[in-house]
Point group: C2
């Protein structure tokens, strides 16, 4: 393990009433959120999908890029992009969400990428399924984890590293998992992992390794930084915690009416108001969506749009709608999703030291004015 | 003028030591900055170009969208996209920068969109020149300002408005000004003004009105919110100020080496290090670029790449390079551009109440380690 001194600030929680720091702002500026009005699109337009890039976007050449498959396999493989494109081609619509979504709204606030609620997006990912490639390489019977290495290189908490994540073999062999080289019908953009990335439907974004260079099969659990240190649900700094895995259910309101520039408070005219948005879960299909207009005191059922066909439906968000008879006053809108596993969104914050997998109900401030 | 009460916070400056507020963070999340490693691209890939959207991205239909030309013209016009596309077609490479770039680094900090240094991008804009269209409409001899109205609707400091900007007639008639319907060879994306926007090479971003619906010629100076109130250089709240217009010279370093995740401090190995980046000015061609590795105490000349052909060169950033013999230690890198008008970047902050047109030299923290 290579360490670098003097560049990584220590992990910490914000003091009570401590504003967002310039370092957090730096991350917020480069890691883009979905502007919430973009919840209107079934498939997020290029450039509006959220981005979380640990280090720099690497500068890779599609023409010479190679993917190596090695470790506990019978036949190590090396493939270029032409070889990957010659393999079976699949397109899947998948909603990705960052594991840290909502972190900046937690109390106390873990100091890291300061997401509000927009670390989400839905894309059409095209690539070749991973499982047949692993079977061709011949997984050893003692295979435990599959490690995916990206070309992005940097330092985190003093540890110099290429971004790497391990995935249990059973997850890596799921038929939905893709080695993707296109997004929304076009070659991957640099910031989304060009020329090759992993897509693991249902899992938080940290699993979908971008700028993929190597797939290594291990006979043990991967103990690299991003699995053993970073993406864990810990109650305190000395709790070893449990791994962050699948996306907890969440729904978001596409904010109705029009906004104030600075506060983003919404202005809605008196009268019937269609409140709509999206809901998703990586654990199981969304079965119910409820809307609140009083900050979580009372809830009304929303109508869920039918799920799409299997390839589009299970792993992508679903639209929901609610007819709100808006009368003058101030309101706090929110929405909560429940999935078939029984998971639902909390009205009080779930908290862990890293600020992960937090699906606290959103708060959208609305002023309803007399009809114009 | 329609006003809306109770949604707009008052204009203010941050208190000393006041952290970034949750409202500023909300703007930073939705208004994307250029990640600085993307300075490597001559043309910014889609999705990495900066975005500043005052209200919501509107939901417009290219098939039915209409542009109206009216006011002090002999022949008012209404054109659809097909009619605009049938007119002469031009592509120009243009660097756009937000007038508020750098605002969050000012002391005291004006509370608004909290840009660090990444509110910039360069695109290939394709569209039809504006001037012939205005001539066909027949400008009245008393024409003073041309007002461009966008479809984005919201509230700012209590004033409900469609985004509107006035441009002096002489600027509107410059041959470089385009009504653009494509960006980087593809139809405009929603967040960049689809289906039609204005491009005014050399001016800060506020002039390049997106989601364009109407062009109105006035026989007086436009006194709408974005000209008379928002985009002005004021020394204090009661100073009427002067309008924000063209882009001040600026250069940025493409940060060398690799970053720490949180602090973004750069790690560079001992040895020769190519420091490079981009420089631009809306006033006149960039004539000199100087690099500092000691936070502005001493300066060395960098090498400017030749400008491209006229269509690509004058209004787009230019690459510069500097060979730095990096030896172990901590450094603060920066760069300053000078243009043919004699304007240069300051080492001490220029300050105005809105935080506009501030081209303070950048600071890039670098740690040089022993060779690896």
């Amino acid at each position: 393990m290579t360490t670098v001194d003097g560049v990584s600030p220590p992990a910490r929680l914000a003091d009570p009433d401590e504003g967002i720091s310039i370092e957090e702002l730096g991350l917020a500026a480069r890691n883009h959120a979905l502007p919430l009005e973009a919840l209107r699109y079934d498939v997020t337009p290029v450039g509006l999908h959220y981005l979380l890039i640990h280090y720099d976007i690497p500068d890779l050449d599609t023409g010479t890029h190679l993917l190596t498959v090695d470790g506990r396999v019978e036949h190590p493989l090396t493939l270029d992009l032409a070889a990957l494109r010659a393999r079976p081609r699949v397109t899947r619509r998948v909603t990705l969400e960052c594991a840290g979504n909502g972190r900046a709204l937690l109390t106390p606030r873990p100091i890291s990428q300061p997401w509000l609620s927009g670390a989400v997006g839905t894309a059409e990912w095209t690539g070749t399924p991973l499982a047949p490639l692993l079977r061709e390489a011949g997984l050893a019977p003692d295979a435990v984890d599959v490690v995916f290495t990206g070309a992005d290189h940097g330092v985190e908490r003093g540890v110099e590293q290429d971004y790497q994540r391990g995935l249990p073999v059973a997850e890596a062999l799921r038929e939905e998992v893709l080695l993707a080289y296109e997004m929304n019908g076009a070659p991957l953009l640099p910031q989304h992992g060009a020329p090759l990335r992993l897509v693991v439907p249902g899992w938080y974004g940290m699993a979908h390794v971008k700028w993929l260079t190597r797939i290594t099969v291990l006979d043990r659990e991967f103990d690299g930084y991003q699995n053993a240190v970073a993406y864990r649900l810990r109650s305190s700094a000395d709790d070893p915690g449990v791994p962050v895995t699948r996306i907890e259910p969440r729904a978001l309101v596409q904010p109705p009416g029009f906004p104030d520039f600075m506060s983003r408070t919404r202005v809605v005219r008196t009268g019937p108001c269609l409140v709509e948005g999206r809901a998703w879960s990586g654990h199981a299909p969304v079965t119910a969506v409820e809307v609140t207009t009083d900050g979580g005191v009372s809830w009304e059922a929303a109508t869920l749009d039918p799920a799409g066909p299997e390839a589009d439906g299970r792993w992508a968000w679903r639209r929901w709608r609610y007819e709100w008879p808006a009368t003058p006053g101030r309101y706090v809108l929110g929405v909560r999703a429940t999935d078939a596993s029984g998971r639902t969104q909390p009205v009080e914050q779930p908290w862990n030291r890293g600020g992960f997998a937090n699906n606290l109900v959103q708060r959208v401030e609305v002023v309803v004015t007399g009809s114009a």
